[in-house]
Structure formats: structure tokens, C-alpha cells
């Protein structure tokens, strides 16, 4: 399906918002892996929900990244966006970076999050299992951390990028911008908020934690930690899947998410 493309003005910032599907609203918070654009996973979710897919500030055509100094700015940005969309409490699905935003949102503004799905989310830190190097890795190194199936078309494309100067310019530009935005919230402390783990006790939304068994960037122990710290949370593991279930296993990801949200 083709989603509707909207631009939402928010206190001087512009948000690129894709909206598609029918049913109650759902907020999808994307990762750095390409799910900022409408993919098969969104199609599947859109069969039962009106999926709202905003691009974070600094991603795609969304502006305002200059004012982002940390995760709180992202969280407040989404509180503002929900307000502008007149959405009081919504189910939130967040992958990787988007999962971190979702977890913070659910802990700080529990009344805005009806249900929460965290997919291979960053945001926590475990000394014994450090999160892999996102910023300093080459595309082939990243592909090995992120994908279980190295034959996946995106993994194949990343393996071909051994020489950065040969990467198509628009693709490289989008990646550089996305990484800059991620660095603004996650350079140091590295992709986590040291106080989030404690705050997770504040989450009131029923929560599903979804994790790819072979996630080499954010290992499964992080999924277990989220499950242990969020009251009543459940963990489901997707087999033969890396860091990005919405991209590597869209059907499985969507089926589990819809089951949970419809329960």
C-alpha cells in the first residue's frame, strides 16, 4: 500500500509523517536500519492499525536535529507530536533507537503509552555484554552484527560497500545524517541512558519485548533485562533473526506484534 505523506509543523520543526492503514492509531518509532521508510512490516501492521511512521528529527525530511542534545529532546519531541496529532494514549512500537525512545516515553509519560512493543532496543547498558560498535564499523562489519542472514539483500548491499567513496551519494548522505542524529543522543553515554534501567519500574503499559536471537549489535541479554525491569513484561525471541526483525523477518515481527496489541 502507499501511505499518505504528511508534514507536521511542530514549534519551528518539520516532521515527515507517513500514515497508512485503518483501525486505531499506532505509533511506530524507527531504527537506523531503513524502516524510516514504509516497508512490508508497516503494511502488515496497517491491516489492523492506522500506522503513524514519523521520521525522527534529523532523519529523512524531518528537521530540528540542531536542537537535539540528548534523548530527552527526542522524548519531548514525541510528546509534542502526539499532542499535535491529538493522540492521547497510543500503542507504541519501537525498534532499536526507536525502542529506546519508546521505553523512555513509557517511563516518563506512562499516560501517553497504551501498550509498548520494544524490538531489539538500545537504551540500557550491561558491562558484561557491551553494545556493538555502531559508529566506527565499516558497512560489512555492521552487516555481520545486524543480520543473521548475510544473503539478505540489504546485508549483501552492505557487504559490497568496501570503499565508501563508491557508495551512491544519496544513500551515503542519508546514512551520514542518520548517524549524526544517533550520535547526538547516543555517543556518550554510548546508546544508553544510565538512569533508564531504574526508571523502567515506572512503565505502566503492558509490554512485549521482541528480540532477534542472533542480534550481534544488542545481544539478547538486553531483551532479558528489559523484560526483568518492566513490570509484567513478556519476552519473545525470534529465531534465525538479527538486530532488525521488522526488516529481516517482517511477517513474524508483525504477527507477534499484532497478536500482542490485539489481546
Amino acid at each position: 500500500m502507499t501511505p499518505e505523506r504528511r508534514t507536521v509543523a511542530l514549534d519551528g520543526r518539520q516532521v515527515r509523517l507517513l500514515v497508512g492503514g485503518s483501525g486505531p492509531p499506532l505509533l511506530y518509532l524507527h531504527s537506523l536500519g531503513g524502516d524510516v521508510e514504509w516497508l512490508e512490516a508497516h503494511d502488515q501492521l496497517a491491516r489492523r492499525f492506522t500506522v503513524h511512521l514519523p521520521a525522527h528529527p534529523g532523519f529523512a525530511e524531518s528537521t530540528g536535529v540542531e536542537d537535539v542534545d540528548g534523548m530527552f529532546d527526542y522524548v519531548l519531541h514525541y510528546v509534542d507530536l502526539l499532542g499535535a496529532l491529538r493522540l492521547r494514549a497510543v500503542p507504541v512500537v519501537g525498534a532499536s533507537l526507536g525502542g529506546w525512545i519508546g521505553a523512555e516515553l513509557a517511563a516518563l509519560y506512562p499516560e501517553r503509552v497504551a501498550r509498548l512493543v520494544l524490538v531489539d532496543a538500545v537504551g540500557l547498558w550491561i558491562d558484561a555484554a557491551p553494545i556493538g560498535e555502531l559508529f566506527g564499523s565499516t558497512p560489512p562489519e555492521l552487516a555481520r552484527m545486524i543480520f543473521h542472514d548475510q544473503q539478505h539483500p540489504i546485508a549483501q548491499m552492505m557487504h559490497a560497500m568496501t570503499n565508501l567513496s563508491e557508495v551512491p551519494e544519496d544513500f551515503a548522505y542519508a546514512q551520514l545524517k542518520a548517524l549524526e542524529a544517533a550520535a547526538r543522543v547516543g555517543w556518550n553515554p554510548y546508546l544508553h541512558d544510565p538512569k533508564l534501567e531504574r526508571r523502567l519500574g515506572r512503565v505502566t503499559a503492558p509490554t512485549l519485548v521482541l528480540w532477534g536471537r542472533q542480534d550481534g549489535l544488542v545481544p539478547l541479554v538486553y531483551g532479558e533485562r528489559y523484560r526483568d525491569r518492566i513490570p509484567g513484561a513478556r519476552l519473545e525471541v525470534i529465531e534465525r533473526c538479527g538486530h532488525l526483525p521488522p526488516i529481516e523477518r517482517p511477517a513474524d515481527f508483525a504477527a507477534r506484534t499484532l497478536d500482542f496489541l490485539s489481546a
Binding site: G136, L164, S165, A172, L176, E180, A183, W187, N188
Partner: protein, 367 residues
């Protein structure tokens, strides 16, 4: 300090170095004696004494009447607060009798990994630190600084530079638009970082001249500097024979990693431009012919080096030529001979040929 606690290898000249009646190292330490301080020196303080010794040694080594001292490696964002840089530079300027050229750099990409500093803040911190340093040099303290990155209720730096309003400022860069636009706007001097093909220098200096034109003035040649590895020997053949293996050691063993560009370190637009130039980077050069043709290094007899350097300096339109006379594994004896030959057989000729003053004039030091 006594028979039990001491610093090794501090030459007597360094220890006895005095400004007026003020014996610098002894004075600093005397304020920090155990009975005054009530504690032993911290690790940082001990390290600071070594740094102080090195700085004094550097000043002594350069104790000449005319030569300028260009310090071009202080990455401002790595200092917190950056007032430290203002004071250290001012100290060198005072001790050297106003001969400092103050280099200000953003720092290399890898430094943002090893210092835990957010590269997305690199430009913001650099700009704010630089403004603060200029304020330290030109405005009597104490004053308040309330910036985005640094909040200081009392800024009261000492000393201030001997050169007024402040020492000339040089900013090196690898061709990012932000840096060139910024230097053009402030009317300072831009130094091209080496190890690129000569066409990269040319492109960058052309962009810089345009940026100056956009600011409403013509760039002075002294606002541009070309930094290049140079090796001089008796003949072309001998120069190559003595130098080549050391150059390849540098290019293949020491250069890799320098091209790390963390996210946000420059704008995505500039990052693409710099990435695009990597094909023209010494890291990707494989043959001696490419080294020569690309002007990555100037190597040969005095006549060859004179001719090539004069031609390049004219073609690039630069008023400062900065030489790297040691590179990689080039040993001390060859380095010394290289320097002697360069000073005796190349430098005087270049000065005449390019009509440069004997003591290289600094770039305009106005704000």
C-alpha cells in the same frame, strides 16, 4: 624535589629557566609543598610538571631572535575549560617575545573516540572555545561566560599575550566547507592538511579564495599555507633511494585510521566531499610515480626541490610553505642532513624566487 621524589631527565637549563627573577618550575612547585598543600601532588599535577618542562624545553630550543613559533595542534574541544589554551598560548607568546602563531584545531576524528567527546558537538564546541579564547585575550577579566557548552561564572585568565590584540591565528583543515568559510569570515589563515594530491589543495585554496571574495575581500597569500613532506639530497636518485622506504612506512603503517570521520564531525555534505577526496589521499597511492606526479612529497636534488616547490607555491597561490622534513622512519642523521640542505640550498632560493620576506610575516592578526 628531593632525593626521594624527583623528575627524571629534566635538564638543568629547563629547571633554572626563569622569567625575570621567577624560576618557573621551582616557583610552581614551591606553592605546592606538602606542608602548604596538606597532601601529596595528584597524578594530574605530577603530569603537569612534565608538560611544563616540555614546554620550557621547546621554548629554549627555539631561542632565536626572529623565528616564529607556530603551535598548530591544540584541539580546542579536548580542553575543558578551554581557558587553559588561552593561558598556555599567552605564556609562550610572553616568553618568546611575541613570536607565537596560535594554531586552533577541531581535532581529528579518532580523538573523539578516545576522549569520549561527542563529534556532533565538535564544531559547536570549537567555535565557542575559540570565541572564549579570543575574549580571554582581548577583554579584561573577570567576566562571565555562559555558553552552550561551557558555563563559567568567573573567567580571569593570566597572562595575556604580548602581541596585541592577539597572536595571529592559523587554522588547519582537510577541506571541509565549514572550516574554510569560517576562516574566511574571520580573516585568519587556512593551512591545508598534507598527504593529499596537489589538485585537492588547489581545489581547497580556490574555494577558500572564493569564500574570502564572498566576504568582500581578496585573500592574501599569507592566509593560505601548503604543508608538504620534503626530502633533499645530493641528487634525485640518491634522494629517492634514501627516502622512499620511510615514506611508504609512513603511508602504509602510520596513516591508516587518520581518515576516520565520526558522525556529525562535519556536516554530511562536507563528509561526502572529504570522502570523495580519499581517492586522492596518500593512503591510496601505490607507486613512486604517483607520489611524484601528485606532489604528495617533494623529493630530489636541491635544484629539483627548488623548482618544484616554487612552481607549486605559485600554482596554489600560497604565501606560507610549511615543510615536513621528517616522516615515518626517517632516521635522525638523514633528517638532520635534509634540514641542513633545505635551509642552505632551497630556502634562500625560494625566498628570492617567491619574493618572501626573510622572517616570514605572520598572517593578519586582526579580529
Amino acid at each position: 624535589m628531593n632525593d626521594v621524589a624527583y623528575w627524571k631527565n629534566v635538564p638543568v637549563r629547563v629547571w633554572e629557566f626563569a622569567i625575570g627573577g621567577y624560576q618557573v618550575m621551582k616557583k610552581w612547585l614551591s606553592y605546592r609543598e606538602l606542608k602548604l598543600l596538606g597532601r601529596a601532588l595528584t597524578k594530574d599535577e605530577v603530569r603537569y610538571v612534565s608538560e611544563m618542562a616540555r614546554r620550557i624545553a621547546a621554548i629554549l630550543a627555539r631561542q632565536t631572535a626572529r623565528m616564529r613559533i607556530a603551535v598548530v595542534g591544540n584541539a580546542l574541544p579536548l580542553y575543558n575549560p578551554p581557558i587553559r589554551v588561552a593561558e598556555e598560548y599567552a605564556m609562550i607568546d610572553v616568553i618568546s617575545g611575541g613570536r607565537l602563531i596560535a594554531g586552533m584545531v577541531v581535532g581529528g576524528g579518532p580523538e573523539y573516540y578516545s576522549n569520549g567527546l561527542n563529534p556532533a558537538e565538535a564544531r559547536g564546541r570549537f567555535n565557542e572555545a575559540l570565541d572564549l579564547i579570543l575574549r580571554c585575550w582581548t577583554e579584561p577579566g573577570p567576566f562571565v561566560h555562559n555558553g552552550k557548552h561551557y558555563k563559567l561564572r568567573y573567567v580571569n585568565p593570566w597572562p595575556t599575550p604580548l602581541q596585541k590584540p592577539h597572536p595571529p591565528i592559523w587554522i588547519p583543515g582537510a577541506g571541509s566547507y565549514e572550516t574554510m568559510d569560517f576562516v574566511a569570515r574571520r580573516r585568519w589563515a587556512y593551512m591545508g592538511i598534507p598527504y593529499f594530491h596537489k589538485r585537492v589543495f588547489k581545489k581547497n585554496f580556490d574555494y577558500f579564495r572564493e569564500a574570502c571574495a564572498k566576504e568582500g575581500y581578496t585573500a592574501a597569500p599569507e592566509q593560505m599555507g601548503w604543508l608538504v613532506p620534503v626530502y633533499v639530497a645530493e641528487s634525485d636518485a640518491r634522494a629517492r633511494e634514501e627516502y622512499e622506504s620511510h615514506l611508504w612506512y609512513f603511508a602504509r603503517k602510520l596513516l591508516p585510521g587518520i581518515n576516520i570521520t565520526p558522525p556529525g564531525y562535519t556536516s554530511a555534505r562536507s563528509a561526502l566531499k572529504v570522502l570523495g577526496a580519499f581517492g586522492d589521499f596518500m593512503l591510496n597511492v601505490n607507486t613512486w610515480d604517483e607520489i611524484v606526479a601528485g606532489g604528495y612529497a617533494i623529493v630530489g636534488s636541491p635544484a629539483t626541490v627548488r623548482e618544484q616547490m616554487a612552481e607549486m607555491a605559485r600554482w596554489l597561490g600560497v604565501g606560507n610553505v610549511l615543510t615536513l622534513l621528517q616522516l615515518g622512519t626517517l632516521p635522525a642523521d638523514l633528517t638532520r642532513r635534509n634540514m641542513e640542505l633545505f635551509a642552505a640550498e632551497v630556502m634562500p632560493h625560494l625566498r628570492r624566487e617567491l619574493d618572501l620576506p626573510v622572517a616570514p610575516a605572520a598572517a593578519a592578526s586582526g579580529a
